[in-house]
Subunit: 156 residues, 2 copies
Amino acid sequence: MGEAIELDETDRRLLRLLQAEPELTLREVGDRLGLSHTPCWRRLARMREAGVIEERRHIVDPVAAGFEIIVFCAVRMNGHSRAHLEEFEAAVGRIAEVVMCYSVSGDHDYLLKVLAKSIKHYESTVKNALVQLPHVLSISTSVTLREIKNTTDVPV
Amino acid sequence: MGEAIELDETDRRLLRLLQAEPELTLREVGDRLGLSHTPCWRRLARMREAGVIEERRHIVDPVAAGFEIIVFCAVRMNGHSRAHLEEFEAAVGRIAEVVMCYSVSGDHDYLLKVLAKSIKHYESTVKNALVQLPHVLSISTSVTLREIKNTTDVPV
DNA sequence: GTTGAAAGGGTTGCTGT
DNA sequence: ACAGCAACCCTTTCAAC
């Protein structure tokens, strides 16, 4: 998105407030910060412009929506040419059950987070699709047992 | 939150639409689905009640906010009594830089995602705090090199 | 399910500092 | 450049049907 910008303490307080209480109106935010709502709105617009803050998102709970299985996959590749990696990454982008993918340093090449309706769904659909991609050497799966914490909040 | 509920195809279309285009107004959503805005609102209220959909959240970009380092930590514990685990989990809840924590099956006990402003910040502040917690046996760190995908969207 | 309306938030132009 | 004021438009919400 936009250029890198400096955040002053008021910007950070604003972000903290909005992350902690997402349903606050700008007028309420202004009251808490000792400002009127307009400067708050302008600061937000500036931060949105710069890509610091994105559109407000509707958060769906995977479990309540029927995705009871959450697994992490560590993927190892057998070749690291640009073309190989791009092919894998494009495929990951197309698989909706893969909700997160980072390339990582260390023992593995990629770390993925995958949602599935059941173990069977994960094994037969998602893992199968991933293993069959070219240049994938191995996938080691960690099944999550319990969610302790999962937040989108950044500790600004 | 609420009780488990059944989602019909209209509910799922609604969720898909709102996840894909979070800024749509209820009237626009209604138009797309061939409904007026009121039933859309009623369905959303019901899903919110049931915990399927949460408050709309403001999403802050960690990198744009100065958190350039994202790491995953696999934590191994040396005791698995309820008290040990609860102590660790409570600590994790208090550390704002830890944005995600799952207990997992397999080689490790917990998998964490951590935001930090620098490697130094991660090592000296976050990792240090974690290692010093009682009953933590080892922490192995994977530094992320690049984000390929990271979405809150559930593939309903 | 629909229409219609009250309440109130987001947005913007203008003004003052 | 940044804050505040006032007004408009539009969304959310909730009647009544």
